[in-house]
């Protein structure tokens, strides 16, 4: 496998819509990004921003109906996943692209022993015998730090704590050495000290195996230490896209800037917290203008009338805003001060 840099995944103008009673909800509306091998991409957004739908679309797990991928391409290792027959997609899912979800309890089968659930994957995808699969399962559990793996392997999921279950999910996801790991809010249901354990684990496993990772989260603190690049999503659109360090130091979008300022920084003096006013928009009733205009501190008449352009600030930094250049300019000046 080619572990050098090279594009592993490319998503082009992906649109996933849902038919609801209120009309068509454009959950993901024209998303494009590329993921290099060995890279970690963070997708940040609030609930309903479309971050999870993006990833379910990549692996073709959108329930249809009501959902439908209306247009766009998902090129994984040179092939468009949308055009493959279901049987081919199944060979990719779990083997070459693996997933970890937020809630480890509902993602594990409560009636099956942990060992059985882990063995299933390698037997299915790699054709392991029972004995091979079992020893591999125990090896994986040891890798993710389950104490007494050989004994604990025969436990049922309810006998494990939340953090341990998430470790099992990671062991399962990494069993076939996938090229891409999609982690959808992997630590949201966990306590802070356990979150730290899981994040360290993902980081060290990634260094060892060279897997590319897509990390979806609402927590800006989590992506700050984990990712190389970031997408900020709002109302089904990518609002900003940049290298992580650049995006934190010099946001070029009023939404990103607001989001960064509304998280209290425990290391600084506690002043009044910046707040983004209002509520996220109803995705079934979007107007023609910028979906963030009503909550934005920079919005003008133009923003409500015309949809903003995706402005290239640098070859690696894009922002969806009529005033992207101005906002970028401002945050650059602040850094010098």
């Amino acid at each position: 496998m080619n572990r050098n840099n090279g594009t592993l995944l490319e998503v082009r103008s992906l649109r996933t819509y849902f038919d609801t009673e209120d009309g068509t909800v454009k959950a993901v509306d024209g998303i494009s990004f590329a993921l290099q091998r060995g890279e970690t991409l963070g997708i940040v957004g609030e609930s309903g921003s479309g971050k999870s739908v993006t990833n379910l679309s990549i692996i073709r797990l959108i329930p249809s109906p009501p959902g439908k991928i209306v247009s766009g391409e998902v090129i994984f290792d040179g092939r468009d996943i949308q055009l493959l027959p279901e049987s081919e997609v199944r060979k990719i899912r779990g083997r070459r692209i693996a997933m970890i979800f937020q809630d480890p309890m509902t993602s594990l089968n409560p009636f099956m022993r942990i060992s059985r659930q882990l063995m299933e994957i390698t037997q299915l995808h790699l054709g392991y015998s029972n004995a091979e699969a079992r020893s591999h399962a125990i090896k994986m559990l040891e890798t993710v730090g389950i104490p007494d793996a050989a004994v604990r392997a025969d436990s049922y999921p309810h006998e494990f704590s939340g953090g341990m279950r998430q470790r099992v999910m990671i062991a399962m996801a990494l069993s076939c050495e996938p090229e891409l790991l999609i982690a959808d809010e992997p630590t949201t249901a966990l306590d802070v000290t356990i979150q730290a354990q899981i994040l360290e684990l993902i980081k060290s496993l990634k260094e060892k195996t060279g897997t590319s990772v897509i990390l979806i989260t609402h927590d800006l603190g989590v992506v700050a230490g984990m990712t190389d690049h970031l997408l900020v999503m709002y109302a089904g659109k990518v609002f900003e896209q940049a290298a992580t360090s650049e995006l934190f130091a010099r946001p070029g979008n009023p939404y990103t800037r607001g989001l960064l300022r509304s998280v209290p920084d425990p290391t600084a003096e506690q002043g009044k917290l910046y707040q983004i006013p209002g509520l996220p928009p109803d995705l079934a009733r979007l107007g023609p203008g910028c979906p963030f205009a009503d909550r934005c501190d920079r919005a003008e008449e133009l923003c409500r009338k015309e949809f903003p352009p995706f402005v290239e600030l640098t070859p690696e930094h894009y922002s969806l805003c009529h005033f992207a250049a101005e906002v970028y300019e401002q945050s650059g000046r602040k850094e010098i001060l």
Binding site: E46, S47, P147, S161, G163, M164, D191, V192, T193, I194, Q195, A196, Q197, L199, E200, H218, D219, L220, G221, V222, A224, G225, T244, S245, F248, A249, G258, L259, L260, S262, V263, P264, D265, P266, T267, E269, Q270, K272, L273, Y274, Q275, I276, P277, L279, P280, R295
Partner: protein, 366 residues
């Protein structure tokens, strides 16, 4: 919170508004009887020591942050103070009267001054009542306002929490999570309380909405001189809102100090790990700082470990930690910590010689 009040509130030598004394909430899960012994072969009583001997003062006008991981007993403590859960032992003194001893009628009278905001804005509002009825109900219960006066007060309350007064005829399902939390806050404010337990009020909300609710809580505190017990597992929110912070682990308080102090110079090993585990939204800090990653999980609160409850995960634990229950000692002025491996003379656990426990003397004195 402005910095002036941070320095003033907790050091005032005044009477505390709420004084919690050796409060205990134990839940008995059965076991231990001859019958159980016969059936299961276990003769051990299974007891969840959710809150196990907590002593804490809350001063008027301050926000006391109560932080800990799930299952540490922080919500149970918050509810036991209001007697929404009956304490099994100990006192809660409010204006000098012990709430734990009050009769039903007296307690109801006192409840007017003590309110709670719940975590889940979806489960804590009756879906069949309008917003006006929800916010007005406490006014009726305590016979504070009736008829037109009541309606006017409801409108006023909605406005205070940032909702359109016209919404009073609507039902909870018509609102988003953040708006529902505002309704819950308006209900708590209706009776003009002195003290509010805010039990994870922002945990279920989106980042941009969290900031709105935190700012609202701060504004209301200034306007109405409220005292908060702010319960959260989110250390960033705790640091932002609180004057003082109490850290809880498996039913016991392990450290109490000023919010800034807890964050900048935590003394007790658990607090140190907890603070270092908080992800900071700054890639530079994240890539350079050292994180203390604790081994293992929080032990079960059913029959928790003896001695210091943190010894099973503590990188500094010595043999004595398994035997001695560390008391909360004032290690530095207004900075309390429960750890036998430090003492007022030797505050930095890193500098204590291996195997030594300078805090043991204090334990023996007690």
């Amino acid at each position: 919170m402005n910095t002036d009040s941070v320095q003033v509130a907790p050091t005032q030598p005044e009477q505390p508004l709420i004084a919690i004394r050796d409060l205990e909430v134990h839940f008995h899960l059965g076991g231990g009887s001859a019958w159980d012994n016969l059936l299961t072969g276990h003769s051990v009583r299974r007891v969840v020591k959710a809150v196990d001997g907590v002593t804490l003062d809350i001063y008027s006008g301050e926000t006391l942050g109560l932080v800990g991981e799930s299952g540490c007993g922080k919500s149970t403590l918050g509810r036991a103070i209001l007697r929404l859960i009956e304490p099994t032992k100990g006192q809660v003194l409010f204006h000098g009267r012990d709430l734990a001893q009050l009769s039903g009628r007296e307690l109801r009278q006192h409840r007017r001054h003590l309110q709670i905001i719940f975590q889940d804005p979806y489960a804590s509002l009756n879906p069949r009542m309008t917003v006006g009825q929800i916010v007005g109900e406490p006014l009726e219960t305590f016979r504070l306002k009736v008829g037109r006066d009541k309606d006017r007060r409801v409108q006023e309350l909605l406005e205070i929490v940032g909702l359109n007064p016209r919404f009073s005829k609507r039902y909870p399902h018509e609102f988003s999570g953040g708006q529902r939390q505002r309704i819950g806050i308006a209900r708590a404010l209706a009776v003009a309380p002195d003290f509010i337990v805010a039990d994870e009020p922002i945990s279920a909300l989106d980042v941009s909405i969290q900031a709105q609710i935190m700012n609202l809580l701060e504004r209301l505190q200034r306007l109405q001189n409220l005292t908060y017990l702010f319960i959260s597992h989110d250390l960033r929110a705790i640091r932002h809102l609180s004057n003082r912070v109490a850290v809880m682990y498996l039913g016991k308080l392990v450290e109490v100090a000023q919010a800034k102090t807890i964050y900048d110079e935590p003394l007790m090993p658990y607090t140190k790990a907890l603070i270092s585990a908080v992800p900071v939204p700054d890639p530079f800090i994240e890539s350079t700082r050292r994180r203390i990653v604790l081994q293992g999980d929080v032990p079960s609160p059913i029959n928790p470990p003896p001695g210091c409850r943190f010894h099973t995960r503590c990188p500094y634990a010595i043999l004595a930690c398994r035997e001695v229950v560390p008391p909360l000692v004032e290690i530095k002025p207004n900075h309390f910590a429960a750890c036998i491996r430090i003492s007022p003379a030797q505050t930095d656990i890193e500098k204590v010689a291996p195997g030594e426990a300078p805090g043991l003397d204090a334990v023996e004195k007690i």
